[in-house]
């Protein structure tokens, strides 16, 4: 990609990359020395306290999607894009009661796949694994791509170089430190993200001003201020349901529910949701300043870094660089660890080697992290799409799992066949709406179809589940 007028020199960009890469890797190595068992490596000893629990939940949810896609959606869908993105917090808030229920129902559980298998049987489990792994890969690729775009936009360094370094660093420290390193680095990264985003938003307001931004938008980009902007109205609940689907099904959040100390999960998710809520608004707002600053945006997912670099100069660019690098790392490491757990427990132990010991699983988990990193790197090289369109493509998949999870956790009536049919039909029709209408309705359609199919088919199945059967410690 041809470079823009970059806010940082390539040398400065490379220096920040090297310094932070070393910090995260050394930190990961230091924390990894305390890991002694599979529980330590995968679930941080199932003993994470409230402060770390809140920080890791929040940092993981503040991703490249928040710091780069929130500005993109604001630039494309205006004020509702920004507000709609912040509704992603609802997923964290609603997961709070679910986390408590999960810990109570599955005290020895490892993954979200564990629950689906025990609750709905093998067929639903396999459908769920396909959806979950597809989503995990989509998210991994969007994170890797965001790293490359960030480095290229701010420093002019090659997209492939930035993407490769960020993936390499995250794979290294996740490999060495497991979930303990992931959670500890998340704590530090959360502090950096909150402080950095607030500084950027305040400086943009000071430098450009609300009046200038409003006047310019009203004259040249009126739809961005229109509260009846049709596509943006359609996007609002779609994003909320997409966020709910992401959090409710993904092992990233389930593994934390298992890892958090007793009675910590619900409070941690509630606090994390409340703290996360204003971040997309602050990060997205800066995109509205782009027209006032005469910034030409080649690709909508570059707008956040471009505005920060233009308004704040080199200092601003350094802050953005560090904030987004931290946000990327905090999500990438969590996703790598949680997806590796899912593959190790549900594919390796569940399908390939049912008699695998904990030591075998520990080795397999490390190998899987490495493979995931390599796979994501290879797919990031292709740079097939913009961040938002790639991410919202997965919305059709994950929103179909909302009802099987929620109904399955609380009620005895959902049937095995009903939830399998709900996940398949929801995904298929969600994808159809993605192509026929737009990315901003895929999750909504998928969720609606999945609800109807779950309710109707469960009525015909007429089967009541025994929750006590979840308490057993059997392996897959």
């Amino acid at each position: 990609m041809k470079t823009l007028d970059s806010a940082l020199s390539p040398g400065m960009g490379a220096a920040i990359l090297v310094v932070f890469s070393l910090i995260w890797i050394v930190f990961g190595y230091y924390l990894g020395r305390k890991n002694k068992s599979l529980d330590d490596y995968m679930l941080a000893g199932r003993n994470v306290g409230l402060a770390f629990a809140t920080a890791t939940a929040m940092a993981t949810w503040v991703t490249s999607n928040t710091t780069m896609t929130a500005p993109q959606l604001t630039y494309q869908l205006g004020v509702w894009g920004m507000v709609g993105y912040s509704l992603g917090a609802v997923g964290l808030l609603l997961f709070a009661p679910l986390a408590k229920r999960i810990k109570a129902l599955l005290p020895h559980g490892f993954t979200s796949g564990d629950f689906i298998r025990r609750r709905y049987g093998i067929a639903a489990w396999r459908i769920f694994l396909i959806i979950s792994l597809f989503y995990a890969f989509g998210w991994l690729i969007s994170l890797g791509m965001a790293g490359g775009i960030l480095v290229n936009t701010l420093s002019g360094l090659d997209y492939h170089l930035g993407m490769s370094i960020i993936l390499f660093v995250c794979v290294c420290y996740t490999l060495m430190g497991g979930l303990r390193a992931v959670i500890a680095t998340d704590f530090v990264q959360t502090l950096i993200i909150i402080i950095g985003v607030i500084i950027i938003a305040v400086l943009v307001i000071q430098n450009v001003g609300f009046d200038t931004i409003h006047r310019n938008l009203k004259e040249d980009h009126p739809q961005l201020l229109n509260l009846l902007f049709p596509a943006a109205i359609m996007f609002l609940f779609n994003n909320l349901l997409f966020g709910v689907g992401e959090i409710f099904h993904s092992n990233v959040w389930w593994s934390r529910a298992f890892a958090f100390r007793e009675n910590t999960g619900a409070k941690a998710y509630l606090l994390a949701g409340l703290c996360w809520l204003p971040i997309p608004v602050a990060a997205g707002f800066v995109a509205l300043a782009a027209p006032s600053l005469n910034i030409l945006v080649p690709s909508a997912d570059m707008v956040g870094p471009l505005v920060a670099g233009k308004v704040l100069g080199s200092v601003g660019a350094v802050i953005v660089f560090i904030v987004v690098f931290s946000a990327l790392a905090s999500s990438l490491d969590s996703l790598l660890a949680a997806t590796a757990d899912l593959i190790t427990q549900d594919i390796y132990r569940g399908h390939l080697k049912p008699d695998a010991s904990n030591e075998d699983c520990l080795k397999a988990s490390k190998f899987v992290i490495l493979i995931l990193g390599l796979g994501a790197w290879a797919l990031c090289l292709l740079k097939l799409s913009t961040l938002a369109s790639l991410l919202y493509f997965t919305g059709a998949f994950v929103a179909s799992t909302i009802w099987p999870i929620v109904f399955g956790l609380f009620f005895r009536w959902p049937g095995k066949f009903a939830v399998s049919a709900a996940m398949v039909s929801g995904t298929v029709l969600g994808l159809a709406s993605y192509f026929m209408i737009g990315f901003y309705v895929a999750a909504l359609v998928s969720c609606a179809v999945s609800l109807v199919v779950t309710l109707v088919f469960s009525k015909f199945e007429n089967h009541l589940f025994d929750f006590d059967s979840l308490q057993s410690t059997d392996k897959p």
């Binding site: 041809k2 909320l240 909302i402």
Partner: protein, 182 residues
Amino acid sequence: MQSTHWSIPAGNSDFSLIKHVTEIFKTVCLSASLTRFFWLTSLLLAASPLCAQQIKLSSNTEISTEGYFVLSWQPETAIADNGASAKHDAVFLRQSQSRDFSVSKKYAIASIEALTLSGFEDGEYFFQIVSPAGNSNVLQVRVQHHALSKAMGFFLTGLLLFVVLACSIFFGLKQSKDENLG
């Protein structure tokens, strides 16, 4: 297309016929020479670095239902090279709601290879790249937002799903507490 017409004069028909055949022969030879000349000239011009390349402006969509779209141009080098050598604002993209660009807005695009524009209301929009090397084609993009009734339909469906979700969790929690499982 203009047709060639040979008139045959009256009288001295044999001589006239020979003369006529000679004329045809000369014309054919001249045509072949001209054709060769044009071919050679075209090849030389195409090989010359001074040749002005036609800039092709395109969009990711002809009809935008969201008020945003991405414009890109080929060859990118024609824009970038001019941007580097000429003044930065010598190459620009102009935007207008009329095909003759009587009232237009300009974007200096010398340093980029594509441009994402957003926030447009319903209407027809015209774009053209103006450059010292020559202007691009005129690109027309129509913005036609989704009907508000359709958008409200999705909004209300989303709201309903959210209410069902919140109620399911609330009543589920209540029920699980009653059963001493929560």
